[in-house]
Amino acid sequence: MKVMSLFLLGVAVFFGIIGVIYWFTSYEDAGFLMLIGAALLGLLPGSYYLWWTYHMKLQPEEDPDAAMEDSAGTVDSFPGSSIWPFILGMGAMFALLTFVFGLWLAPIAGALILSALIGVTVESRRGGAV
């Protein structure tokens, strides 16, 4: 966790410095804004992880000497097979094709996306924690 937070904060510091230098040498706003955006992208998760680094007990994957007994327990819950990502993906494709070929495709896209959203919600409830 600590390595990752320092890594992300490094991203923030690097782009912050580069962004400021870039602004005062070029006064070009598009590049400056994108550099500052990249700095924020590092800053937000980086400070979140840094906070957790000091509020969380050492995880087995962070412990260089993790022993067998540390490895017991649940990793996580994983979903099984599901048709809904396919339906949602095709819905997204038809939604974007609507912009190219016209509104007649919109009902197909809407039906696919809506059914996928309902389907995946029902599936999650039935399957327990996801």
């Binding site: 590049g31 087995p60 994957e61 000497d65 994983f78 494709m93 094709l97 399957g127 996801v130």
Partner: protein
Amino acid sequence: MTTTIERPEVITPEELGGPEGHHPDALHGDADHGHHEGPSGILNWLTSTDHKVIGKSYMITSLVTFFIAGIMAVVIRAQLLDPHTSLVSYQTYNELFTMHGSLMLYLFAGPFAFGGLANYIVPLQVGAPDMAFPRLNALSYWLYLGGVITMLSGFLVAGGAASFGWVSYAPLSNATNSPGAGADLWLMALALTGFSAIFTGVNLVATILYLRAPGMTMFRVPIFSWNMLVTAILILIAFPVLFAAVVMLFCDRHFGTHIFSVEGGGSPVLWQHLFWFFGHPEVYILALPYFGMVTDILPVFSRKPVFGYKGMVFATMSIAALSTGVWAHHMFTTGVVLLPFFSLLSYLIAVPTGIKFFNWIGTMWRGQLSFQSPMLFSIGFLLIFLVGGVTGVLLASPPVDFMTHDTYFVVAHFHNVLIGTAVFGGFAGFYFWYPKMFGRMLREGLGKLHFWFLFIGFWVTFMPQYLLGLHGMPRRVASYAPDTGWTTLNVISTLGTYVIGFSFLFFLINLMVSWRKPVPSGPNPWDGHGLEWFTSSPPPHHNYTHLPPIRSERPTWDYNHPEHRTVVHKPKGKKFAAPNKGDKETVGAPS
């Protein structure tokens, strides 16, 4: 239906009667924990959320786009064979080079690495049962496939496919200069694959951060997975900008906005800023995964640990960071960018890349080298990427860039970079991990033939293009005048392309032979180092029933060779235990 995954049990060689006694593979009798109850056949492909199935789908789809785009390249080169060839019309030629670049960059080189090999290998390398968000992972693939279909369908609509080059510069890409549905389909394909990449990036970050096996600290994660983590961060920086630019361009084309047009008060150069803020990190999104593959392959075929592990990690980070600050070196000739800033940062990238080269050579230095196909392709990568890197340093110099901008010199340079990484690095990874993915070997002889024809064909194709560029031949032209003196070099270059095309026949035959007459690979055919070589080939549904103790960056090697365990250097004064709790050995004592 969800499945709760328990952590795999950690086993030591002693418990199994030593590494030579029982391989952990023998424990995989009940490989699926009894949980694998999904459908089979085409329904499995449509519904699977298993990272291995999705990774293979990604790989197959991206290889198909690679072959389609490769055939386009052969047609492009055949058109340029001599000044009088008229194989295709000028409009078709423009469509072909646009789609060749777009398919190769957006739909092959990236997805093959971060959707295909990374999807399959990263969870195995960090000891995870799957990607962190399996259904999001499946959605990524379907968005990607939607993008492939959308982009290729440009050839079916009136007016043909997009024909403004893979960079889609304004004002060439506006509704007046590029009318028709082909250009719009191209934009929508970018939106779909962009989101697919973003979702995969999120998935990779979450998997590497939260699903590592016990003992797999960040500085024990194999370099390939490290590079994928850094690549994923780059994806998250770059692709949203591309999506925003695509939306703006679409609004310019259809909704009457003037963001990129001078007549409405907009700026065409803004498109270049937005595009290259995505486009240059994209080059490293395409390169870093392949650096990682080669870094994992060289130690195995040198029978040594990787030289300068942490140096490699920091070099990757530096390359990624610098790559995001150099976008306008593609825009030197616009005359409105800050030349010293972008030139300096571009030069600086040579430093971490040089460190990587030093470490790659250091890894091989005095090792017990063996030259199987993955190693040959890795060495091919080193040589070809080196020349691409050196010509890149040349192009970072504004005076040289002004001379060679939009000539064949640039074409040769970026093919040197991208074929070095995505093709040589990519096939090194493919030959290396194919036994893990399919449980069978590829034939060495055919692999070597593939390598040598590809390697020689590459130089024959692209070395003449450097000279053509220096003689002033512009890129993106469908013909040239006979009195320019470019014909001989173009003939040589085209013949080289035929050799490259021919080399892939050996690859296809190799796949067919391995499919028809399988030679079982066993779990660890190369005596590999990473965790992925510990489980069976192909791995069971949730990857591991047992894990070795993880005490260095090469746990499988340590398990199989207890007498040559990786020595872990730790700084003085820090408290640490013996490499294995309960072990009396003191390998890893402070020096």
